[in-house]
Subunit: 193 residues, 2 copies
């Protein structure tokens, strides 16, 4: 493997392990084992687990930004873009039931660790909040756009949290339907003048 | 200190440490240090950190059950009892901003650790879900009571999660107001026949 390819594989393996086992719980050795490289090769790329975390957060930001950009390209209607966001709960349901929301659980863990990279992890939430605000603004929600974005992000977090605890697919389906309905209420169909 | 008093102090110290630093991150030594007892005395009460966790979950259940019972005694109106639940977000706002929801963050961490006590920790959520369902049933919400209980629990979790990330007191206040308004819509005032 070339050096940059190895680095990328480490980051992707760490991304999965931090999500599925927690940042504190997943060790350097776990990550090296998942990538099947020597400790020496690992240390060539990352000297500390915090450096891996910083790279994982950067990777997640890039990956989410690309996804949001794709939604913008594929869909003209901002309400449908917001529905894409809501549908993450369905598309990733199995993983969310097993491990919660990757963003929310990382932010929560770093807060308890009082970790220096907590603000960087929060940037993942900020990315979604600002993107949602932009969509609500395009829907014509004016100065309510920011509050509506935070409200929807809140509901998405709440559903992910309880889905993880109760493993109840029917609850997730019901709450996604409720979010759709709520969204429709925020953007009543335009009437002719 | 008598033995049962020491045990209780260990559990309360562990409760705080697991909440503020995370279960995985808080060590036996941290707990012993917080209670200011020897390791020998600690081991007399608890042989493993999992045994401490089981005792902490039991303690939290007792403590929450007592709180809910008190709300029932103090308040006849089930809508006002539900408002007490919503108000946890205000009453405990400082701690929630710093460390998230004690129940949600513990369940999330134990899920990632694939911990044997995850079902016991989920019991804390079940306690609140069933209690809220009972209040909605008393409000006359009939077969909607269970879904409404889960919806409110979901919103409470979502607000706690984003409060922890964004440290935004105005967001918490706004969402608590929205929950009040939502609650009023679930229990329209009874009209004379």
């Amino acid at each position: 493997m070339k050096a940059d390819e190895t680095r990328r594989k480490i980051v992707i393996a760490a991304d999965h392990l931090f999500y599925e086992q927690g940042f504190e719980n997943a060790s350097f050795a776990d990550i090296a084992q998942a990538v099947e490289i020597s400790r020496g090769n690992f240390y060539y790329h990352f000297k500390t687990k915090d450096a891996v975390l910083a790279a994982v957060i950067e990777y997640r930001l890039d990956e989410r930004k690309t996804m949001l950009r794709l939604w913008e390209l594929e869909e003209d209607n901002p309400a449908n873009r917001i529905k894409n966001f809501i549908n993450i709960l369905i598309a990733n349901q199995t993983k969310i039931m097993a491990f919660g929301c990757p963003v929310g659980t990382l932010c929560s863990e770093l807060a308890k660790l009082d970790h220096a990279l907590k603000p960087e992890a929060s940037g993942l939430f900020t990315l979604f909040a600002e993107w949602l605000e932009q969509q609500f603004a395009e829907l014509g929600c004016g100065d309510q756009a920011s509050d509506l974005a935070m409200h929807l992000l809140m509901r998405s977090q709440g559903v992910a949290s309880l889905a993880n605890t109760f493993q109840d697919a029917e609850f997730v389906r019901r709450e996604v339907e409720a979010m759709y309905k709520w969204l429709d209420q925020q953007c009543p169909p335009k009437r002719p003048m």
